[in-house]
């Protein structure tokens, strides 16, 4: 009961904030909604016994990436938002249309896949590493054994991205 309440509350907030992110006029407000959204998603992760992922979500997403967005928004600091020129009704219209299309698509996919999944419920659990709450150690173990090479590749990716970002943002090459 409490669990359901918590889930519905969180889901409502997450979706509401998502809508706010997409529809906010000011980019700064958009960023703020995004932060709160991510924090709530982190709470959701905690309910799903994924404390480590939750903390990472807060640390990397909320504490790192979104700060970067905020930085850029402040740096760009537009006097006029690009949407000022566009027709709000066109926005709503196309948004609804697109929303319908996408929602239909997703519902079809999810329901069909779930139907397939329920059919073979017996095999749903039992493969992979079973875990309990407080699984950080296990996660580390998996990450550094089975997924070692992808992990290293991810770090490589981050390094390349870092260098690329510096090169792109540096004002004068050769300075």
């Amino acid at each position: 009961m409490a669990e359901a309440l918590l889930f519905y509350t969180l889901a409502a907030l997450i979706l509401g904030l998502g809508v706010m992110v997409v529809s906010a006029r000011s980019a700064v407000h958009s960023v703020l909604f995004l932060v709160v959204n991510f924090l709530l998603v982190a709470v959701l992760y905690v309910t799903l016994n994924a404390e480590f992922v939750a903390v990472i979500q807060v640390l990397v997403y909320a504490g790192g990436i979104v700060v970067l967005y905020l930085f850029v928004v402040m740096l760009v600091n537009l006097k006029k938002a690009p949407e000022r020129f566009s027709d709000p009704r066109r926005l709503a219209r196309s948004g609804l249309l697109l929303g319908g299309v996408v929602l239909a698509l997703i519902v079809v996919v999810v329901s069909s896949s779930l139907r397939a999944g329920m059919a073979s419920e017996g095999t749903l659990s039992g493969f992979g590493t079973p875990f309990t709450s407080g699984n950080t150690e296990q996660l580390g173990w998996v990450l550094y054994t089975s997924y070692l090479i992808p992990f290293e590749l991810a770090s490589m990716l981050l390094l390349v991205a870092m260098i690329g970002a510096i090169v792109l943002a540096k004002r004068h090459l050769g300075d």
């Binding site: 700064v28 407000h29 404390e51 903390v55 807060v58 909320a62 700060v67 930085f71 950080t136």
Partner: protein, 332 residues
């Protein structure tokens, strides 16, 4: 219901109040300590030896007019101090004041990561405060502050990893217990890490000599130039609460938390006459004193020097420390 809801809520209420009161007295302590360092007396008028100044200051701030600049983004302007203070208070949820579960609200297995991630949220308060003021000095200061905080956070996190390697746990209670088992404070095992975290802590709390975001002489008041009244007080509270957090982390990780000195030497047992939480608070205040002492002594870094210190000294040293720790861990 009692155990899961009422007692935690009570603990939270007590803790928040305790922190806030501690902050007001910390301000008084800072004024007094610096005054003594500078051969003057400090506040002397309100109450005996100015002790009641700690109460007078908040009253003054609450009663002052709360000004919102015309051109400011009002919502964000209001939100910023709150976003600054809340993470500072939330962190205390995992800080153990003693060995007994009574002394902490929760001991989660990723406690240390929790602290790091929550404190990283505190940046928003500063950035948004500077941005929302719609004024040049605060904007400059907030850009400085955010860059500074993110930079030093990397160094601090890197250093924490080496401590985690030593303890094998992310739980703060676990870290203290590990020190009890090994019978020695980690300050002696990880001295480099201690220094790094202390310096990084100074920078993360914007304290001298890294108090650039609020360098009065350069940027008038820093990111909170346009703030007044209670909203200013919230920033103020957040800063001092953060100081307490950093001191608490340092004490927990390097100075045995609530443990008395030499916890395994029996004949010093009389030291246990003092309750554990007194030891903890005493150590925390010792470090707060060091913070204040440094502020009275050192000049301020320049922005570029600060950044080069962070990136070119602290981070490499932290990585080096991590590597050395790892090697020791593997070899022994």
């Amino acid at each position: 219901m009692l155990d899961t809801v009422v007692i935690p809520l009570l603990k939270i209420a007590v803790l928040v109040n305790a922190v806030l009161v501690a902050v007001t007295f910390l301000v008084l302590m800072e004024r007094k300590v610096i005054a003594w360092a500078q051969s003057r007396l400090g506040p002397m008028r309100v109450g005996p030896y100015g002790i009641l100044q700690a109460i007078a200051d908040p009253i003054k701030l609450i009663l002052k007019e709360d000004i919102t600049p015309v051109k400011a983004d009002r919502h964000v302007f209001t939100l910023a101090p709150i976003m600054s203070l809340v993470p500072a208070l939330v962190v205390f949820a995992v800080v153990p004041f003693g060995p007994d579960p009574l002394y902490y609200i929760g001991d989660i297995n990723v406690g240390l990561l929790f602290i790091i991630s929550v404190t990283s949220i505190g940046v928003y308060g500063i950035i948004l405060g500077g941005w929302a003021s719609n004024s040049k000095y605060p904007l400059l200061a907030s850009l400085r502050a955010s860059a500074q905080l993110i930079s030093y956070e990397i160094a601090v996190t890197m250093t924490l990893v080496s401590v985690i390697l030593t303890t094998g746990t992310l739980s703060l209670v676990g870290i203290v217990e590990a020190q009890q088992e090994s019978g020695i404070w980690f300050a002696f095992i990880q001295p480099v890490a201690l220094v790094l975290i202390f310096i990084g802590g100074l920078a993360e709390t914007n304290r001298a000599p890294f108090d650039l975001p609020e360098a009065e002489t350069e940027l008038t008041g820093g990111f909170h130039t346009e703030y007044s009244g209670m909203r200013f007080a919230l920033f103020f509270l957040a800063e001092y609460a953060n100081m307490i957090v950093i001191s608490a982390i340092v004490v927990l990780m390097f100075f045995g938390g609530w443990l008395r000195p030499f916890p395994n030497i029996a004949f010093l047992g009389f030291l246990d006459l003092l309750p554990a939480w007194i030891w903890f608070v005493g150590k925390v205040f010792l470090f707060l004193y060091v913070f204040i002492w440094i502020r009275a002594t050192l000049p301020r870094y320049r922005y570029d020097q600060l950044m080069s210190l962070g990136w070119k000294v602290l981070i490499p040293v932290a990585i080096g420390n991590l590597v050395v720790t790892g090697v020791f861990k593997v070899v022994f």
